[in-house]
Symmetry: C2
Subunit: 133 residues, 2 copies
Amino acid sequence: MALAPLPDHYRLPPFDEACAPRRLLRLFSGKWITMILHTLHLLGGGSRPGQLMRAIPGLSKKMMTQTLRDLESMGLVSREVRQIMPPEVVYRLTELGEVFVEPLEMLYRWGADHAADLERLASPAPQTDLQDR
Amino acid sequence: MALAPLPDHYRLPPFDEACAPRRLLRLFSGKWITMILHTLHLLGGGSRPGQLMRAIPGLSKKMMTQTLRDLESMGLVSREVRQIMPPEVVYRLTELGEVFVEPLEMLYRWGADHAADLERLASPAPQTDLQDR
DNA sequence: AGCCATGGGAACCTTTTGGTGACCAGGTCA
DNA sequence: TGACCTGGTCACCAAAAGGTTCCCATGGCT
């Protein structure tokens, strides 16, 4: 972890909700966005929709399409269509997309290295039984 | 970035939604969770609620209390009460909380270093005008 | 009474994200 | 006809996250 300390601009209150790091966290808050970015990365930078579906359990066609469309409009993914039968569509990480894979993979690696800590992480209690405070 | 490559277990499809790195991303998907963890960290590891309110624009008392309660039940934050008048409550990062501050600060630093890329990141298009594909 | 300090709860609502199930298109093969 | 391959859309809904507004409590001071 040879990262420079956080610049002053980000270290003093008030902490701006729209600052650059917050934009990153906002991007990564989407369940399927990060799953799909990660999977595209692991599949060599690009993939056809069917391959994505098979690689990601629980992903519905609807969520896949919606998320890929979002990623495309954000400029993180490109969509290439070959008008043959059956059609061939390939979604590929753009240059910008590759940039953002880096922090995502940082998190994946950190998570893999700290699986034990993540096991210790309790689920938030249901919103009852918290009267004794 | 001297991190080891991702273990095989995490590199081959199918990609398990409940695996350790996904749990980390799930944790970080909460808007106020990360803001409050980051702020506690920057304020020396602990803070009183009023100080948190003043440090984080846009945070309502309701969301602050709710989020602190969640963080407490997850074991990331402790709550210490001094029964004086006016009351003194201090929320403090636990050991486990300090562990999870690390990847969060990694993201903050990455975001600070790549503000230009984050500026280039377009907002997803509204769900209209996407007929021309 | 009002104000200030402190910290917190509840009712209700809005917005966002994710999910279900059905449908569409073209083509090939039995 | 049906099944398969490919990729995508739509209507509607559920769940989760976040937001607004009001209320509560203690004590001290004007």
